[in-house]
């Protein structure tokens, strides 16, 4: 093979690799991206029940309830305009508290969201930007509060 032909082989191999990767990435994006919603979004929009979503907002005051099995927790996430009930089985993060901004990930069920992950940031003054955004949209954001 001549130098030129060899270079062509290399270039084609490279392009082939990129094509495979692009195909993988595109199909993966389609299926594996998690969209973020606020409680108001859930109230207004049609949200698919067959895939994971993220929901962010404040844990409503006096809404956290532990079921009899001791490990299932129910609480309400609010952006102070709408509310969504959340069920979660497992250990809550250290900084999970009522009034705190959190993000939960899971699927929508018959009665609210069934979460398989609860994220609370590791800093008590921290507000996840998504939650701050959701609160702003709901017209409930007061600057200077909650540390941001």
């Amino acid at each position: 093979m001549t130098r030129k032909k060899k270079r062509m082989v290399m270039v084609l191999a490279g392009l082939g690799g990129l094509a495979v990767a692009a195909a993988l990435v595109l199909t993966a994006f389609e299926q594996n991206i998690t969209y973020f919603y606020s409680p108001s979004d859930l109230a207004e929009q049609e949200v698919p029940h067959d895939r994971n979503i993220r929901l962010g907002g404040l844990v409503a005051e006096e809404s956290v309830m532990r079921l009899d099995d001791g490990v299932t927790v129910q609480f309400v996430i609010t952006d102070l305009a709408s509310e969504v009930a959340v069920t979660y089985k497992g250990l809550l993060p250290d900084l999970f508290r009522e009034g705190q901004g959190v993000i939960v990930e899971g699927r929508l069920g018959e009665r609210g969201l069934v979460a398989d992950e609860v994220l609370a940031k590791h800093d008590e003054n921290y507000m996840p930007p998504e939650v701050a955004e959701a609160l702003k949209e709901a017209g409930q954001w007061r600057h200077g509060e909650d540390g941001q």
């Binding site: 130098r3 191999a13 990767a21 990435v25 993966a28 969209y35 973020f36």
Partner: protein, 657 residues
């Protein structure tokens, strides 16, 4: 007074950087030896100045000088000394200072050990290194001065985030930084070579040890970080595809590719343009990593305060550094002479495949990491998590692992694939056996687990067979084989170790992903729960006091076949200064599996929620990483790669003559 001296040292370092960035470069262009020679003392002076600044900041932390804003915000008088010191880099300003310190250290190392470099190349490398320092020093001095004073000084500090008060995390950032910044040397060499218009085997021999050093530290730093996440966050996971993990992983992937392509440049004088590009990209990804995460553009546990002014400066700096070097590359790269020819099936061909797969893999991680940023610009709020990477990155790595076992058997230039596979017969047979055994033992389990274990076995045995083949194990008398093993180039032994280490780590990753089991339970003292054939009894919780926190210590007794085998004491801590709780998991490891216990919340009447994991083979992930680091170190000690080795050889040759 001391903080002002530190600030002054930083400003002086900035001036030195300006001089070092211009004079030697101009000198190299004009062939003025005196101007070029300025690079070495300037690099050493710059290091001396930056280290004085760093020591000044450290001093303020050690004596808890709360008149310094940075100390007041990130330290506290009751904090243990180790964390007072690690607090220096546990914040934005201090971590930038550490970055510049390591950058200057590497510059000084080139100045000291670069005696055998061609004078023009050395001058240019040190100048480029100084441009990078210049960018960082101006950034620090104008937007993030660590020595800012506060008046009136607070009575006590705000303390360091308790999550960061951990021995594992005290050393994780410096290690990662040595890795990130170590790649700056490869970058400087690449840019200098582009300006010089020449890349040859000697250039590659120079770049390789520096890249290897950076790679070793990156490997160790990433492993340490994931280990920390595993035992400190209490989620039983060790890798979350979090943006901050990804940005340290991408330079690692690129450094790995660079290490391999530099071999081709050195041995075969081919792939030069590509290697230069890799060196530029590897360091660019380090820059992006440091900045994007630290600046708070991406949400992560690691992001420090975000500030629009900083963000703009960072964006500008990234544009100049990355855009500039890539433009230079586009202009100058065609001038580099293409080197040796090779057939697709050859050692070079295998290394090209390795590079291709690593580069494409990096691209998928890059897309996944930055996609949320782009989407955000269009008002869509998304997150990309583990499921994305397990269908993009993981499948791309599989063919690479298959090739990794075969590649070392291939000859340079043109190779005999059938012959190579013939030598891997044993490995292939055992791999098939491992795959069948895995499938049989875990019927109905995920097929990926069978594949993962098979790949791990294949790579491990492939690496060992190559080593055995080289020393003629079982084909020559044992004494002869041992002699061969002793005389084997250290780089070859290093490769075997690094490849085998990756195999061990892959086994650990696969097993933990496929066979982790978990129990979440509400328990009263005296109650027991069974997991993976072991019985874990909850004995109760005792409160006590730590140096700067209060804690609840849970007591668990573990029984296997009726015999007590361990007592585990997970803790929940509360750091009163920041009013922040943390979880300390208790882990019992047998080397083959971990039993991992986390204490949850009390219900007020003596009961607690408890989470217990059984994690098979997880320790292998870090054992494998350790073997990889060891392989890197052994390879680094190879005399051909030893920094300054050619100079010594020349001297002895002269002495003989």
């Amino acid at each position: 007074m001391i903080p002002e001296l530190g600030h002054l040292a930083l400003i002086l370092a900035l001036f030195v950087a300006v001089v070092q960035g211009i004079v030697p470069m101009v000198g190299a262009a004009r062939g003025n030896p005196a101007w070029m020679a300025l690079a070495r003392p300037a690099a050493l002076l710059q290091f001396a100045l930056v280290s004085s600044a760093f020591l000044a900041l450290m001093q303020s932390y050690v004596i808890s000088d709360f008149t310094v804003l940075n100390v007041a915000l990130n330290s506290h008088s009751t904090k243990p000394m180790l964390y007072k010191i690690s607090g220096v880099w546990g914040n934005h300003e201090g971590s930038m200072l550490l970055w510049v310190l390591i950058l200057a250290l590497f510059g000084a190392a080139v100045a000291l050990f670069g005696g055998n470099l061609p004078a023009t190349l050395r001058a240019r490398v040190l100048s480029v290194q100084s441009w990078i320092a210049l960018g960082f020093l101006t950034f620090m001095i104008f937007t993030s001065n660590p020595f800012e004073r506060v008046f009136p000084p607070p009575l006590d500090g705000n303390d360091l985030n308790p999550l960061l008060q951990d021995p594992g995390l005290a050393f994780h950032p410096p290690m990662l930084y040595v890795g990130y910044v170590g790649l700056s040397i490869a970058f400087s060499f690449a840019v200098a070579a582009l300006i010089e218009g020449r890349v040859d085997a000697a250039w590659a021999r120079w770049v390789r040890p520096w890249t290897l050093l950076a790679w070793i530290f990156l490997t160790a730093g990433i492993a340490l970080g994931s280990w920390w996440a595993y035992y400190e966050l209490g989620w039983g996971g060790w890798w979350f595809w979090d943006p901050v993990e990804n940005v340290s992983f991408m330079p690692w992937l690129m450094a790995t590719a660079l290490l391999h392509s530099a071999i081709v440049v050195e041995k075969r004088d081919a792939l030069k343009v590509w290697t230069i590009l890799l060196a530029i990209l590897a360091f660019s990804l380090s820059l992006i990593g440091t900045f994007i995460v630290r600046s708070g553009l991406l949400t992560s546990v690691h992001s420090f305060a975000s500030d629009p002014q900083r963000g703009l400066y960072i964006l500008l700096l990234l544009c100049i550094a990355i855009g500039g070097s890539l433009t230079l590359f586009a202009v100058r790269a065609p001038a580099l002479k293409a080197g040796g020819l090779f057939a697709p099936i050859s050692r070079e061909g295998a290394l090209v495949m390795n590079n291709l797969l690593l580069a494409v893999g990096t691209a998928t991680v890059f897309l996944g990491t930055l996609y949320p940023l782009f989407a955000d610009a269009f008002g869509v709020n998304v997150s990309v998590g583990a499921p994305f990477y397990s269908v993009t990155f993981v499948p791309l790595m599989m063919p690479m692992i298959v090739l990794m076992a075969i590649g070392p058997f291939l000859a340079w230039k043109r190779a005999d694939l059938a012959g190579a596979l013939g030598r891997l017969k044993m490995a292939l047979a055992v791999t098939a056996a491992v795959a069948l055994a895995t499938w049989y033992l875990h019927q109905g389990g995920p097929i990926l687990a069978v594949l993962g274990m098979a790949l791990a076995a294949w790579l491990f045995l492939g690496a060992l067979s190559e080593w055995a083949f080289r020393i003629k194990l079982f084909r020559a008398p044992l004494a002869d084989s041992l002699k061969r093993a002793w005389h084997l180039p250290r780089a070859a032994t290093g490769m075997t170790l690094a490849h085998a280490g990756l195999a061990v780590a892959i086994a650990g990753m696969t097993a933990s992903a496929a066979w982790q089991s978990e129990v979440v339970r509400y328990m009263q003292p005296g109650e027991s729960v069974e997991i993976a054939g072991q019985e874990v009894r909850f004995d109760g919780v005792v409160a006590s006091q730590g140096p700067n926190y209060t804690r609840d210590v849970g007591h668990f007794t573990v029984f296997a076949e009726g015999r007590q085998i361990a007592v585990l004491t997970p803790e929940n801590r509360l750091y009163p200064v920041q009013n922040m709780p943390t979880t300390e998991a208790a882990i019992r490891t047998t080397g083959l599996a971990d039993l991992y216990v986390v204490l949850g919340d009390p219900d007020g009447s003596g009961g607690w929620t408890v989470r217990i994991y059984y994690e098979p083979l997880v320790p292998w992930i870090w054992a494998g990483s350790l073997i990889m680091v060891l392989g890197g170190l052994v390879s680094l000690s190879d005399r051909r790669l030893r920094v300054g080795a050619p100079a010594r050889k020349r001297k002895t040759a002269l002495a003989k003559a």
